[in-house]
Subunit: 335 residues, 4 copies
């Protein structure tokens, strides 16, 4: 950590600042430039209260040298984390595909879709039981009944299940869910993250719609510092000024996350773009960028989907997609 | 609602679309242009499932004519909503000021600040007991103890209290809190909003850091549709590419919210800018833009604040601020 | 074009509005809803002055149905445009690679790089002679001398040349340049676009750092409406709140541009990310997303580059890159 | 300037880096931390080629301590710059108002508006003769004839004139123009800035729609380093994800610019919001935030304006605005 002292600060104030910093058990290196004095901190700076230091009169600016995340940091954990769910492994060089409808709507619907996506090569079934909706008047999901239906579909196909949690008190309902998803709007719902950090179950953490890569990894850190190291990161597009697509898919973030962290990273091209015909090119691009998996919305009848029909593809289109991405996977040396 | 049909759509498909829309009990006006057919819907379109309609093959685009919020909409509720807390009214033409530290730290601290901001003219005391922090390693607030200390400060000064909730299960602890704050990161924590909608207690709802004005009003709608019409909106800056300030304060949003909605709107210049010396000019500008109140971070010793010291002003600076904004209030014809 | 009339507008005002619109030679369809009246315009609305119409008291909002660009619009020109430069074709299904240094620095440098990138498979040489720099104190390029050196490198290798223009009066210097680049900062330098529209020479138009896809196509329309249909679009990242990468590469825009327009689209992963180790994954992802080509910064000694060294790769790394993207090209069925 | 060295860099590479930096005539302070080595540079770092340094293998990151602008920097020029045009001074504590139509349309129009805005207290007349338009098919201004008409209006009223330049070769036409405006889209048209830097005439420089405060000041630096210190900065809204307003007016930037620089700063609420009814609240807020002036679009018949009618106010509304802002000016102690 580096601290730039305000120009014309008196020596006494600088000494007080150095003394204050010293209390954190780090050593301080000072050098005096023509226009400003700079302090360099050596040691474990992660406990230093940046807010407190930056509030000192003498401080012009603080610059961090180290990343604020530790457990999620590849520097301290060079090997890739592989998250295992039954026989399936995410992060081992393979490309896993999670597919299913935005919302679970009926037993027939979810079992039908589950069978079809499995036949095409999906290794996880997704489906929303509790749905975060911008409008209180929109369909909010089948809730507990939806979870039941997902488990039926799991029984029928063997596919492990990924579904979103929106409230801590729902946690007991998720006991048989294989992977718990934290949605973009809850990426910084820290109380929820703390609770999920006490589980061992894999957590699929979606990037918030205006969160930086660092904030994303800090939310993973919340889970991991609680003891749960089974974290899967999911890039799903960020909010920008461009309105043609629902969000702007940030594929460079995939490569950056793989560099900074050892956690597996998957991509959701359906939510990222909101447009059916962009799912395939963005799925391919995600694999080429190094993603460990994809999350794709598939609906047996998008025209009658209760939510997100416009970005859902049919099982037939999904089958084509799986065939089309196979050569890309091979070209990238992926399993 | 207006639906643009894809060019070259067959008549049969258009007929099916019209039939589908008809099921929502609205009437459909069709006109055929040179390049495209457009359908205009008449009646109560708020129940129409936009996702479902936009997933139909025949649909190129849907354009909304009506706002999706109703209870928060000034069109259906032309008079200003005035939120009353004891003797204090927000939204009646006055400028109310909520002041206090980012975090409650000790009895001495909070009572001292409470007395001083009251003496300067503040009408509410703010203070964080449960703190949302990006890092799991940062100070997370005094929690229940912090709430106790706030109530002590209320007893000592008579100032009503504003403090943030982060978790539904904490609700019983907030019984004696006067105004419950929903932070920016929880603006779309819909489960929390649903619970708070069942209360009668005023809710101070902060705008999410990348949420539109419409989404902001839809979150207010969640509270109001549950039955709680005591909602105070708070603009606290949005995330943009500019990094000099912590966020970009969107003061036009204040005037827009006052136009679109009847709810009171306050501004938090401390969080919006993150810089002490910007608090005063932005507080003044907020009043000039029409805000019903301000929320200001004040700390008796910002240099030792456990959080957000860099944006907190001292009680003396707060006193000066209150004197400096008085003529602006008068110039704007505000009480 | 659809015009939403303000609620409670008097009939007389609506009639005047209809009459005003009628002067543009379009017919007007009116329908009266419960809360608002909507006018639908039929015919060629491209001449309607949207600003003037939206300024009428009676008008609440205008919604466009048709795209404002015509010559760049795939609807009116379904076949892909192929831009040919000598033997090389961009937009014919192949993946062309433009490579070279950010700045031309010396005869030795540019010829050396040209030979090496050609040997690795590049089909164009890029190099900046006139450099747009944020700081007036930074190296501004070798200017006319730089153009001379580029032509030397062309003579030595046969590679056609791509270089940026910054000023209309420099145009005579660009006579022997094969493709003229318009940089991101000049995407809406309309006077420059008008002049380049009078040429027949191919123009490589970069997307502005905060411009929408529609604005990008409107700038292409400036070139094309002047008579120059040899336009190559280049996605090079947009500005967002994320600061880890220099810009956020918007790969969905590649697929969207290919859908909305018939013009070829290339991607510049070097400027988009600003980081050497992101060039390869983003180059691969760009091809998977459907790009017609790549623009890559290559420097024989990035450590001594006079500009953009941090994002330039060495000729050896470029050679590896070309080998690594070959299977992706094949997997995507590209030449 | 501070340079963070990559972890595990060999001593030899560090020595080479220190030697390279030493060539710029600055001295280098090195300190060795637990995980990384940091170099602190002392002396005039403005000549250091940041691009070159950041391209060295050993370099992880460079952090700037000093601002890159000098002539525009308040640190080196503590007194406010006052730009004088005839009797009018901008930056002396007064609030100057520039008013007039988006486009000059006819002699009658411009003279009528000029007389009326002068009567209401405007001290400058604005009017577009050369108009930057997104569409090549939109009205592009009366061009040289428009400039003639502006001069007629100046003759008739004595009001100095502000109008936009779009092309260097038009410069001779601007000889009698009092203040030359550089539009937002040309803020980084560096060739244009270089030419205008050779004049003595005041330049009104608008902030680019996605440019940072630092980039804005660097463009002012282009003008000033050429010798022209008569620069007026204009905040006119930035592009964000919010679409209700045309742009997001960044009023904190006004206070920040006044702090970082000695140049006068004005605000254009018309372009910033694009909505007539937001002009007044934002004009008031701009003054409260410390702006030295306002730029307001006024049209005698907004309904028939050839451009930007939706954001233009009538002379009557302008008169009311001037009366309404008077008490705010007084309350802020402004002349």
């Amino acid at each position: 950590m580096i601290i730039v002292v305000k120009p014309k600060t008196e020596q006494k104030q600088i000494d007080e600042l150095v003394e204050l910093i010293g209390r954190y058990g780090v050593s301080v290196n000072k050098w005096v430039g023509a226009e400003s004095t700079v302090l360099g901190l050596i040691g474990d700076t992660s406990r230093i209260d940046v807010d407190l230091i930056s509030a000192q009169d003498a401080v012009e600016r603080i610059m961090k040298v180290q990343e604020p995340y530790k457990k999620a940091n590849r520097k301290f954990h060079p090997e890739d984390t592989v998250v295992r769910v039954g026989d399936v492994a995410i992060g081992d060089g393979s490309v896993q595909v999670i597919a299913g409808p935005c919302s679970v709507e009926s037993e027939e619907q979810i079992i039908d879709i589950a069978k079809r996506v499995k036949a095409s090569g999906a290794t996880f079934l997704r489906g929303g039981a509790f749905k975060p909706r911008t409008s209180p008047y929109a369909f909010q999901g089948l809730k507990a009944d939806g979870l039941e239906l997902l488990l039926e579909a799991k029984k029928a196909t063997g596919l492990p299940i990924v579904t979103e949690i929106m409230r801590i008190s729902h946690l007991p309902l998720f006991e048989d869910v294989d992977v718990i998803q934290v949605g973009a709007r809850n990426m910084q719902n820290f109380e929820l993250l703390k609770e999920l950090g006490h589980l061992k179950k894999p957590i699929l953490l979606k990037r918030g719609l205006a969160n930086t890569i660092e904030e994303f990894l800090m939310s993973a850190e919340y889970l991991m510092s609680g003891g749960n190291e089974n974290v899967i990161l999911c890039e799903r597009g960020i909010r920008t000024y461009e309105t043609y697509t629902r969000n702007t898919l940030d594929l460079a973030a995939v490569a950056v996350l793989k560099k900074l962290s050892h956690l597996p990273v998957i991509v959701d091209p359906s939510h990222a773009t909101g447009i059916t015909w962009l799912v395939e090119p963005m799925a391919k691009a995600a694999i080429a960028a190094g993603a460990d998996g994809l999350m794709i919305e598939v609906h047996n009848n998008p025209k009658k989907a209760l939510s997100d029909g416009a970005q859902s593809i049919t099982p037939d289109a999904f089958d084509t997609l799986m065939k089309d991405i196979a050569p890309i996977k091979a070209a990238c040396g992926r399993k």
